[in-house]
Protein backbone atom coordinates (compact mmCIF):
# COMPACT_ATOMS: atom_id res chain seq x y z
CA UNK A 1 0.00 0.00 0.00
CA UNK A 2 2.93 2.37 0.68
CA UNK A 3 4.18 1.83 -2.88
CA UNK A 4 0.75 2.71 -4.29
CA UNK A 5 0.47 5.74 -2.03
CA UNK A 6 3.88 6.97 -3.19
CA UNK A 7 2.83 6.46 -6.81
CA UNK A 8 -0.41 8.41 -6.33
CA UNK A 9 1.34 11.32 -4.61
CA UNK A 10 3.89 11.44 -7.42
CA UNK A 11 1.06 11.54 -9.97
CA UNK A 12 -0.49 14.50 -8.13
CA UNK A 13 2.80 16.38 -7.97
CA UNK A 14 3.82 15.77 -11.57
CA UNK A 15 1.06 17.66 -13.40
CA UNK A 16 -0.07 21.24 -12.99
CA UNK A 17 -3.61 20.20 -12.10
CA UNK A 18 -3.13 20.12 -8.34
CA UNK A 19 -1.26 23.41 -8.28
CA UNK A 20 -3.88 24.99 -10.56
CA UNK A 21 -6.70 23.93 -8.25
CA UNK A 22 -4.74 25.20 -5.27
CA UNK A 23 -4.23 28.61 -6.90
CA UNK A 24 -7.90 28.82 -7.90
CA UNK A 25 -8.97 27.98 -4.37
CA UNK A 26 -6.62 30.60 -2.94
CA UNK A 27 -7.89 33.39 -5.22
CA UNK A 28 -11.57 32.54 -4.77
CA UNK A 29 -11.07 32.46 -1.04
CA UNK A 30 -9.58 35.94 -0.91
CA UNK A 31 -12.36 37.18 -3.17
CA UNK A 32 -15.11 35.53 -1.10
CA UNK A 33 -13.82 36.91 2.20
CA UNK A 34 -13.31 40.41 0.78
CA UNK A 35 -16.79 40.51 -0.80
CA UNK A 36 -18.36 39.42 2.47
CA UNK A 37 -16.47 42.11 4.32
CA UNK A 38 -18.37 44.71 2.27
CA UNK A 39 -21.60 43.82 4.10
CA UNK A 40 -23.24 46.52 6.28
CA UNK A 41 -21.48 47.14 9.60
CA UNK A 42 -24.49 45.89 11.54
CA UNK A 43 -24.40 42.50 9.82
CA UNK A 44 -20.65 42.20 10.32
CA UNK A 45 -20.99 42.71 14.08
CA UNK A 46 -22.95 39.43 14.50
CA UNK A 47 -20.62 36.67 15.77
CA UNK A 48 -22.54 34.11 13.72
CA UNK A 49 -21.90 36.06 10.52
CA UNK A 50 -18.25 36.53 11.50
CA UNK A 51 -17.98 32.78 11.92
CA UNK A 52 -19.60 32.24 8.51
CA UNK A 53 -17.25 34.65 6.75
CA UNK A 54 -14.11 33.21 8.31
CA UNK A 55 -15.60 29.78 7.66
CA UNK A 56 -15.34 30.26 3.87
CA UNK A 57 -12.03 28.41 4.28
CA UNK A 58 -13.84 25.24 5.23
CA UNK A 59 -16.31 25.60 2.37
CA UNK A 60 -13.84 26.28 -0.43
CA UNK A 61 -11.24 23.91 1.02
CA UNK A 62 -13.79 21.08 1.01
CA UNK A 63 -14.97 21.95 -2.51
CA UNK A 64 -11.49 22.03 -4.05
CA UNK A 65 -10.30 19.00 -2.10
CA UNK A 66 -13.35 17.14 -3.43
CA UNK A 67 -12.29 18.13 -6.95
CA UNK A 68 -8.70 16.95 -6.29
CA UNK A 69 -10.11 13.59 -5.24
CA UNK A 70 -12.48 13.32 -8.19
CA UNK A 71 -9.83 14.30 -10.75
CA UNK A 72 -7.36 11.76 -9.35
CA UNK A 73 -9.67 9.12 -10.81
CA UNK A 74 -11.41 10.80 -13.75
CA UNK A 75 -8.23 12.32 -15.20
CA UNK A 76 -6.68 8.84 -15.36
CA UNK A 77 -9.74 7.52 -17.15
CA UNK A 78 -9.90 10.51 -19.48
CA UNK A 79 -6.24 10.27 -20.51
CA UNK A 80 -6.07 6.47 -20.50
CA UNK A 81 -3.34 6.28 -17.85
CA UNK A 82 -5.75 4.09 -15.91
CA UNK A 83 -4.70 1.21 -18.20
CA UNK A 84 -0.98 1.22 -17.32
CA UNK A 85 -1.96 1.93 -13.71
CA UNK A 86 -4.09 -1.23 -13.55
CA UNK A 87 -1.55 -3.27 -15.53
CA UNK A 88 1.02 -2.54 -12.83
CA UNK A 89 -1.52 -2.94 -9.99
CA UNK A 90 -4.27 -5.31 -11.16
CA UNK A 91 -5.95 -5.33 -7.76
CA UNK A 92 -8.01 -2.29 -8.64
CA UNK A 93 -9.76 -1.81 -5.32
CA UNK A 94 -6.37 -1.25 -3.70
CA UNK A 95 -5.55 1.45 -6.25
CA UNK A 96 -8.78 3.33 -5.47
CA UNK A 97 -8.08 2.97 -1.76
CA UNK A 98 -4.54 4.35 -2.24
CA UNK A 99 -5.97 7.26 -4.22
CA UNK A 100 -8.36 7.99 -1.37
CA UNK A 101 -5.54 8.10 1.19
CA UNK A 102 -3.28 10.16 -1.08
CA UNK A 103 -6.12 12.63 -1.60
CA UNK A 104 -6.81 12.76 2.15
CA UNK A 105 -3.21 13.96 2.58
CA UNK A 106 -3.40 16.48 -0.27
CA UNK A 107 -6.89 17.54 0.77
CA UNK A 108 -5.73 18.24 4.30
CA UNK A 109 -3.04 20.58 2.93
CA UNK A 110 -5.73 22.34 0.89
CA UNK A 111 -7.97 22.59 3.96
CA UNK A 112 -5.25 23.77 6.32
CA UNK A 113 -4.22 26.46 3.86
CA UNK A 114 -7.80 27.50 3.15
CA UNK A 115 -8.69 27.64 6.84
CA UNK A 116 -5.65 29.73 7.72
CA UNK A 117 -5.99 32.07 4.71
CA UNK A 118 -9.69 32.69 5.41
CA UNK A 119 -9.00 33.53 9.05
CA UNK A 120 -6.07 35.80 8.18
CA UNK A 121 -7.85 37.54 5.30
CA UNK A 122 -11.02 37.89 7.35
CA UNK A 123 -9.19 39.31 10.33
CA UNK A 124 -7.41 41.83 8.09
CA UNK A 125 -10.68 42.86 6.40
CA UNK A 126 -12.49 43.33 9.71
CA UNK A 127 -9.61 45.42 11.07
CA UNK A 128 -9.75 47.55 7.92
CA UNK A 129 -13.48 48.10 8.52
CA UNK A 130 -12.79 48.89 12.17
CA UNK A 131 -15.04 46.10 13.42
CA UNK A 132 -13.96 43.90 16.32
CA UNK A 133 -14.02 40.16 15.82
CA UNK A 134 -16.04 38.62 18.62
CA UNK A 135 -14.57 35.14 18.34
CA UNK A 136 -12.40 33.38 20.92
CA UNK A 137 -9.31 31.18 20.59
CA UNK A 138 -11.39 28.02 20.44
CA UNK A 139 -13.34 29.39 17.46
CA UNK A 140 -10.12 30.07 15.52
CA UNK A 141 -8.70 26.62 16.27
CA UNK A 142 -11.96 25.05 15.13
CA UNK A 143 -12.06 27.17 11.96
CA UNK A 144 -8.59 26.01 10.86
CA UNK A 145 -8.68 22.44 12.18
CA UNK A 146 -12.24 21.98 10.91
CA UNK A 147 -11.30 23.21 7.44
CA UNK A 148 -8.39 20.75 7.43
CA UNK A 149 -10.51 17.79 8.50
CA UNK A 150 -13.47 18.60 6.26
CA UNK A 151 -11.26 19.05 3.18
CA UNK A 152 -9.33 15.82 3.89
CA UNK A 153 -12.58 13.84 4.09
CA UNK A 154 -14.19 15.59 1.13
CA UNK A 155 -11.16 14.58 -0.96
CA UNK A 156 -11.93 10.93 -0.21
CA UNK A 157 -15.60 11.52 -1.08
CA UNK A 158 -14.42 12.96 -4.41
CA UNK A 159 -12.36 9.84 -5.14
CA UNK A 160 -15.40 7.65 -4.58
CA UNK A 161 -17.70 9.82 -6.70
CA UNK A 162 -15.11 9.93 -9.49
CA UNK A 163 -14.67 6.15 -9.39
CA UNK A 164 -18.42 5.58 -9.65
CA UNK A 165 -19.26 8.27 -12.24
CA UNK A 166 -15.94 7.94 -14.17
CA UNK A 167 -16.65 10.76 -16.63
CA UNK A 168 -14.81 13.94 -15.71
CA UNK A 169 -17.32 16.67 -16.56
CA UNK A 170 -20.39 15.18 -14.83
CA UNK A 171 -18.27 14.36 -11.79
CA UNK A 172 -16.90 17.88 -11.44
CA UNK A 173 -20.26 19.52 -12.19
CA UNK A 174 -21.97 17.17 -9.74
CA UNK A 175 -19.63 17.93 -6.85
CA UNK A 176 -19.75 21.68 -7.48
CA UNK A 177 -23.54 21.70 -7.83
CA UNK A 178 -24.03 19.66 -4.68
CA UNK A 179 -21.88 21.88 -2.50
CA UNK A 180 -22.77 25.22 -4.11
CA UNK A 181 -26.55 24.97 -4.16
CA UNK A 182 -28.19 21.54 -3.90
CA UNK A 183 -27.54 21.26 -0.19
CA UNK A 184 -28.40 24.92 0.23
CA UNK A 185 -31.79 24.33 -1.39
CA UNK A 186 -32.41 21.36 0.86
CA UNK A 187 -31.37 23.39 3.90
CA UNK A 188 -33.79 26.10 2.76
CA UNK A 189 -36.43 23.44 3.26
CA UNK A 190 -37.87 23.70 -0.24
CA UNK A 191 -38.60 20.01 -0.20
CA UNK A 192 -39.78 19.69 3.38
CA UNK A 193 -36.77 17.84 4.69
CA UNK A 194 -37.02 19.50 8.10
CA UNK A 195 -33.65 19.54 9.83
CA UNK A 196 -32.46 16.34 8.15
CA UNK A 197 -30.16 18.51 6.00
CA UNK A 198 -27.69 18.81 8.85
CA UNK A 199 -26.82 15.17 8.30
CA UNK A 200 -25.85 15.82 4.65
CA UNK A 201 -22.11 15.81 3.85
CA UNK A 202 -21.73 19.52 3.09
CA UNK A 203 -23.42 20.53 6.34
CA UNK A 204 -21.42 17.93 8.25
CA UNK A 205 -18.25 19.58 6.91
CA UNK A 206 -19.42 23.01 8.02
CA UNK A 207 -20.28 21.60 11.43
CA UNK A 208 -16.66 20.43 11.90
CA UNK A 209 -15.43 24.01 11.66
CA UNK A 210 -17.95 25.16 14.29
CA UNK A 211 -20.49 26.83 11.99
CA UNK A 212 -24.02 27.65 13.18
CA UNK A 213 -23.79 26.01 16.60
CA UNK A 214 -27.20 24.75 17.67
CA UNK A 215 -28.45 24.41 14.09
CA UNK A 216 -25.74 22.14 12.75
CA UNK A 217 -24.24 19.12 14.50
CA UNK A 218 -21.51 19.50 17.12
CA UNK A 219 -18.02 19.55 15.50
CA UNK A 220 -17.07 16.09 16.80
CA UNK A 221 -20.28 14.55 15.50
CA UNK A 222 -19.82 16.29 12.17
CA UNK A 223 -16.32 14.80 11.91
CA UNK A 224 -17.55 11.28 12.62
CA UNK A 225 -20.44 11.62 10.17
CA UNK A 226 -18.30 13.07 7.38
CA UNK A 227 -15.72 10.36 8.06
CA UNK A 228 -18.44 7.77 7.54
CA UNK A 229 -19.46 9.44 4.24
CA UNK A 230 -15.81 9.46 3.13
CA UNK A 231 -15.25 5.80 3.99
CA UNK A 232 -18.51 4.75 2.35
CA UNK A 233 -17.77 6.74 -0.79
CA UNK A 234 -14.25 5.34 -1.17
CA UNK A 235 -15.52 1.82 -0.48
CA UNK A 236 -18.29 2.04 -3.09
CA UNK A 237 -15.78 3.53 -5.56
CA UNK A 238 -13.33 0.69 -4.90
CA UNK A 239 -16.02 -1.97 -5.31
CA UNK A 240 -17.40 -0.42 -8.50
CA UNK A 241 -13.90 -0.15 -9.96
CA UNK A 242 -12.95 -3.74 -9.18
CA UNK A 243 -16.16 -5.13 -10.69
CA UNK A 244 -16.45 -3.18 -13.91
CA UNK A 245 -14.30 -3.78 -16.99
CA UNK A 246 -11.74 -1.10 -17.75
CA UNK A 247 -12.50 0.60 -21.08
Amino acid sequence: MRALLRSELLKQRSTRTTLGLFAAMFLLLILAVLLHSLLPTQALRSPNNQLTILGRGEFLGALFAGLVGALSVTAEIRHGTIRPTFLVSPRRARVVWAKAWACVLTGSVFGLTAGAVAVAAGAAAFRARGIDLRLDGGDYVLLVAGATGAAALWAAIGVGVGAVVRHQVPTVVGICAWLLFVEGLLAGDLVGLGDVFKFLPGSAGEAISGQEPGTLLAPGLGLVLLGAYAAASALVGALATSRRDVG
Partner: protein, 250 residues
Protein backbone atom coordinates in the same frame (compact mmCIF):
# COMPACT_ATOMS: atom_id res chain seq x y z
CA UNK B 1 17.29 -47.45 -23.03
CA UNK B 2 15.80 -45.26 -20.35
CA UNK B 3 14.35 -41.88 -20.93
CA UNK B 4 14.54 -39.32 -18.25
CA UNK B 5 13.51 -35.74 -18.26
CA UNK B 6 16.28 -33.58 -16.94
CA UNK B 7 15.57 -30.39 -15.01
CA UNK B 8 16.38 -28.17 -17.91
CA UNK B 9 13.89 -29.83 -20.17
CA UNK B 10 11.26 -29.82 -17.49
CA UNK B 11 11.63 -26.12 -16.87
CA UNK B 12 11.41 -25.54 -20.61
CA UNK B 13 8.26 -27.63 -20.59
CA UNK B 14 6.72 -25.45 -17.90
CA UNK B 15 7.70 -22.17 -19.41
CA UNK B 16 6.31 -23.26 -22.78
CA UNK B 17 2.85 -22.16 -21.67
CA UNK B 18 3.54 -18.45 -21.41
CA UNK B 19 0.00 -17.66 -22.50
CA UNK B 20 -2.88 -20.11 -22.43
CA UNK B 21 -6.27 -19.10 -23.76
CA UNK B 22 -8.96 -21.75 -23.30
CA UNK B 23 -12.59 -21.63 -24.48
CA UNK B 24 -12.51 -17.87 -24.06
CA UNK B 25 -15.79 -16.09 -24.68
CA UNK B 26 -16.54 -12.42 -24.10
CA UNK B 27 -19.95 -10.91 -24.75
CA UNK B 28 -21.04 -7.30 -24.56
CA UNK B 29 -24.81 -7.59 -24.33
CA UNK B 30 -25.83 -9.34 -27.56
CA UNK B 31 -22.48 -8.79 -29.22
CA UNK B 32 -20.13 -11.76 -29.06
CA UNK B 33 -16.68 -10.19 -29.31
CA UNK B 34 -14.69 -13.36 -28.59
CA UNK B 35 -16.24 -16.78 -29.19
CA UNK B 36 -14.74 -19.96 -27.71
CA UNK B 37 -11.19 -18.91 -28.55
CA UNK B 38 -8.19 -21.11 -27.73
CA UNK B 39 -4.48 -20.73 -28.39
CA UNK B 40 -1.19 -20.82 -26.52
CA UNK B 41 2.21 -19.20 -26.83
CA UNK B 42 5.65 -20.74 -26.46
CA UNK B 43 8.53 -18.95 -24.79
CA UNK B 44 11.10 -17.34 -27.06
CA UNK B 45 8.75 -16.65 -29.94
CA UNK B 46 7.20 -13.61 -31.51
CA UNK B 47 3.57 -14.33 -32.23
CA UNK B 48 1.50 -12.16 -34.52
CA UNK B 49 -2.09 -11.86 -33.35
CA UNK B 50 -3.87 -11.04 -36.57
CA UNK B 51 -7.41 -10.38 -37.66
CA UNK B 52 -9.59 -7.79 -39.36
CA UNK B 53 -10.80 -4.77 -37.40
CA UNK B 54 -13.43 -5.86 -34.91
CA UNK B 55 -12.23 -9.48 -34.89
CA UNK B 56 -11.80 -9.43 -31.11
CA UNK B 57 -8.02 -8.96 -30.84
CA UNK B 58 -8.07 -6.07 -28.39
CA UNK B 59 -10.86 -7.63 -26.33
CA UNK B 60 -8.82 -10.84 -26.02
CA UNK B 61 -5.77 -8.88 -24.91
CA UNK B 62 -7.83 -6.90 -22.36
CA UNK B 63 -9.14 -10.11 -20.82
CA UNK B 64 -5.65 -11.63 -20.85
CA UNK B 65 -4.32 -8.56 -19.01
CA UNK B 66 -7.01 -8.53 -16.34
CA UNK B 67 -8.74 -5.36 -17.57
CA UNK B 68 -11.93 -7.20 -18.52
CA UNK B 69 -13.64 -10.28 -17.13
CA UNK B 70 -14.27 -13.20 -19.48
CA UNK B 71 -17.91 -14.23 -19.95
CA UNK B 72 -16.71 -17.85 -20.10
CA UNK B 73 -13.41 -19.69 -20.32
CA UNK B 74 -10.08 -18.33 -19.23
CA UNK B 75 -6.96 -16.53 -20.37
CA UNK B 76 -3.86 -17.32 -18.32
CA UNK B 77 -0.39 -15.84 -18.26
CA UNK B 78 2.32 -18.06 -16.80
CA UNK B 79 -0.45 -20.42 -15.73
CA UNK B 80 -2.38 -17.87 -13.67
CA UNK B 81 -4.97 -15.19 -14.11
CA UNK B 82 -3.22 -11.83 -14.57
CA UNK B 83 -4.66 -10.33 -11.40
CA UNK B 84 -3.48 -13.33 -9.36
CA UNK B 85 0.15 -12.74 -10.32
CA UNK B 86 2.26 -11.46 -7.43
CA UNK B 87 4.30 -8.95 -9.35
CA UNK B 88 2.81 -8.63 -12.83
CA UNK B 89 4.95 -5.68 -13.94
CA UNK B 90 8.11 -7.77 -13.56
CA UNK B 91 6.72 -10.59 -15.70
CA UNK B 92 4.54 -8.91 -18.30
CA UNK B 93 4.84 -5.60 -20.07
CA UNK B 94 1.94 -4.42 -22.18
CA UNK B 95 0.81 -1.52 -24.32
CA UNK B 96 -2.84 -1.44 -25.36
CA UNK B 97 -3.21 2.14 -26.59
CA UNK B 98 -0.61 4.41 -28.09
CA UNK B 99 -1.59 7.46 -26.09
CA UNK B 100 -2.18 6.41 -22.49
CA UNK B 101 -0.36 9.39 -21.01
CA UNK B 102 -1.33 12.54 -19.16
CA UNK B 103 -0.39 15.28 -21.65
CA UNK B 104 0.88 17.53 -18.87
CA UNK B 105 3.22 14.98 -17.30
CA UNK B 106 6.81 14.46 -18.47
CA UNK B 107 7.89 11.14 -19.91
CA UNK B 108 10.21 10.57 -16.98
CA UNK B 109 7.52 11.25 -14.38
CA UNK B 110 5.06 9.02 -16.23
CA UNK B 111 7.54 6.17 -15.86
CA UNK B 112 8.44 7.05 -12.28
CA UNK B 113 4.83 7.05 -11.10
CA UNK B 114 4.37 3.52 -12.44
CA UNK B 115 7.79 2.41 -11.18
CA UNK B 116 6.84 3.59 -7.69
CA UNK B 117 3.67 1.48 -7.75
CA UNK B 118 5.63 -1.59 -8.89
CA UNK B 119 8.49 -0.98 -6.42
CA UNK B 120 10.93 -0.58 -9.28
CA UNK B 121 13.86 1.82 -8.62
CA UNK B 122 13.64 5.18 -10.42
CA UNK B 123 16.98 4.45 -12.11
CA UNK B 124 15.17 1.90 -14.23
CA UNK B 125 13.00 4.70 -15.69
CA UNK B 126 16.17 6.30 -17.07
CA UNK B 127 17.37 2.94 -18.40
CA UNK B 128 14.21 2.29 -20.39
CA UNK B 129 14.19 5.87 -21.67
CA UNK B 130 17.68 5.23 -23.05
CA UNK B 131 16.55 1.89 -24.48
CA UNK B 132 13.86 3.56 -26.59
CA UNK B 133 16.09 6.56 -27.31
CA UNK B 134 13.97 9.15 -25.54
CA UNK B 135 16.55 10.49 -23.04
CA UNK B 136 16.57 13.92 -24.64
CA UNK B 137 12.78 14.25 -24.36
CA UNK B 138 12.52 12.74 -20.87
CA UNK B 139 11.76 16.04 -19.14
CA UNK B 140 9.38 17.37 -21.75
CA UNK B 141 5.65 17.06 -21.21
CA UNK B 142 4.10 14.29 -23.31
CA UNK B 143 1.85 16.88 -25.00
CA UNK B 144 4.94 17.87 -27.05
CA UNK B 145 5.70 14.28 -28.20
CA UNK B 146 5.07 13.02 -31.73
CA UNK B 147 3.02 9.87 -32.22
CA UNK B 148 6.21 7.87 -32.80
CA UNK B 149 7.69 9.19 -29.54
CA UNK B 150 4.49 8.22 -27.70
CA UNK B 151 4.73 4.70 -29.14
CA UNK B 152 8.29 4.48 -27.84
CA UNK B 153 7.32 5.86 -24.43
CA UNK B 154 4.58 3.22 -24.31
CA UNK B 155 7.18 0.55 -25.07
CA UNK B 156 9.43 2.00 -22.35
CA UNK B 157 6.49 1.73 -19.94
CA UNK B 158 6.05 -1.94 -20.83
CA UNK B 159 9.76 -2.58 -20.33
CA UNK B 160 9.96 -0.97 -16.86
CA UNK B 161 9.79 -4.29 -15.02
CA UNK B 162 12.21 -6.06 -17.42
CA UNK B 163 9.40 -8.51 -18.28
CA UNK B 164 9.49 -12.01 -19.77
CA UNK B 165 6.44 -11.36 -21.93
CA UNK B 166 5.60 -8.32 -24.01
CA UNK B 167 2.03 -7.78 -25.20
CA UNK B 168 1.68 -5.02 -27.77
CA UNK B 169 -1.48 -3.86 -29.54
CA UNK B 170 -0.65 -2.36 -32.94
CA UNK B 171 2.79 -1.05 -31.88
CA UNK B 172 3.84 0.02 -35.37
CA UNK B 173 1.01 2.56 -35.80
CA UNK B 174 2.47 6.00 -36.23
CA UNK B 175 6.06 4.84 -36.52
CA UNK B 176 8.06 6.01 -39.54
CA UNK B 177 9.96 3.41 -41.61
CA UNK B 178 13.08 3.82 -39.48
CA UNK B 179 10.96 3.40 -36.34
CA UNK B 180 9.33 0.25 -37.71
CA UNK B 181 12.77 -1.15 -38.57
CA UNK B 182 14.03 -0.30 -35.09
CA UNK B 183 10.99 -1.93 -33.44
CA UNK B 184 11.43 -5.11 -35.48
CA UNK B 185 15.09 -5.40 -34.42
CA UNK B 186 14.16 -4.67 -30.85
CA UNK B 187 11.49 -7.39 -30.70
CA UNK B 188 13.86 -9.85 -32.40
CA UNK B 189 16.59 -9.26 -29.79
CA UNK B 190 13.99 -9.49 -27.02
CA UNK B 191 12.80 -12.91 -28.25
CA UNK B 192 16.38 -14.14 -28.76
CA UNK B 193 16.86 -13.80 -25.00
CA UNK B 194 14.23 -16.50 -24.58
CA UNK B 195 11.48 -14.00 -23.93
CA UNK B 196 8.11 -13.90 -25.61
CA UNK B 197 6.22 -11.33 -27.64
CA UNK B 198 2.53 -11.24 -28.53
CA UNK B 199 1.90 -8.49 -31.01
CA UNK B 200 -1.45 -7.71 -32.59
CA UNK B 201 -1.44 -6.14 -35.99
CA UNK B 202 -3.40 -5.62 -39.14
CA UNK B 203 -0.27 -4.60 -41.06
CA UNK B 204 0.39 -7.97 -42.67
CA UNK B 205 3.49 -7.12 -44.69
CA UNK B 206 5.16 -5.79 -41.55
CA UNK B 207 3.94 -8.72 -39.44
CA UNK B 208 5.34 -11.19 -41.97
CA UNK B 209 8.80 -9.68 -41.49
CA UNK B 210 8.64 -9.75 -37.69
CA UNK B 211 6.77 -12.77 -36.36
CA UNK B 212 7.59 -16.49 -36.06
CA UNK B 213 4.10 -17.69 -35.22
CA UNK B 214 0.68 -16.43 -36.11
CA UNK B 215 -2.71 -16.63 -34.48
CA UNK B 216 -5.41 -15.44 -36.87
CA UNK B 217 -8.91 -14.72 -35.62
CA UNK B 218 -12.07 -13.50 -37.30
CA UNK B 219 -15.43 -12.68 -35.72
CA UNK B 220 -14.02 -13.81 -32.37
CA UNK B 221 -13.14 -17.30 -33.69
CA UNK B 222 -9.73 -18.82 -34.20
CA UNK B 223 -9.25 -19.41 -37.93
CA UNK B 224 -5.58 -20.40 -38.08
CA UNK B 225 -2.60 -20.84 -35.85
CA UNK B 226 0.91 -22.14 -36.51
CA UNK B 227 4.36 -21.25 -37.69
CA UNK B 228 4.46 -18.51 -40.26
CA UNK B 229 6.61 -20.68 -42.54
CA UNK B 230 4.06 -23.49 -42.55
CA UNK B 231 1.12 -21.24 -43.27
CA UNK B 232 2.86 -19.56 -46.17
CA UNK B 233 4.09 -22.75 -47.87
CA UNK B 234 3.88 -22.91 -51.63
CA UNK B 235 4.81 -19.29 -52.18
CA UNK B 236 1.66 -17.84 -50.65
CA UNK B 237 2.08 -14.55 -48.84
CA UNK B 238 0.69 -13.94 -45.38
CA UNK B 239 -1.78 -11.61 -47.06
CA UNK B 240 -3.08 -14.40 -49.34
CA UNK B 241 -3.50 -16.69 -46.33
CA UNK B 242 -5.16 -14.01 -44.24
CA UNK B 243 -7.60 -12.84 -46.88
CA UNK B 244 -8.47 -16.42 -47.76
CA UNK B 245 -9.19 -17.31 -44.15
CA UNK B 246 -11.03 -14.20 -43.10
CA UNK B 247 -13.32 -14.25 -46.11
CA UNK B 248 -12.37 -10.80 -47.29
CA UNK B 249 -12.42 -10.20 -51.05
CA UNK B 250 -9.10 -10.93 -52.72
Amino acid sequence: MTYHIDERERSLGDSAAVVTVRSLTKRFGDLVAVDDLAFSLEAGTITGFLGPNGAGKTTTLRVLLGLAEPTAGEALVFGRRYRDLDDPARRIGAVLESNDFHPGRTGRNHLRALAAAAKIPFGRADEVLALVELEDAADRRVRTYSLGMRQRLGLATALLGDPELLVLDEPANGLDPAGVHWLRGFLRRFAEQGRTVLVSSHMLAEAALTVDEVVIIDHGHLVATGRLGELTQGGRTLEDVFLGLTGAPT
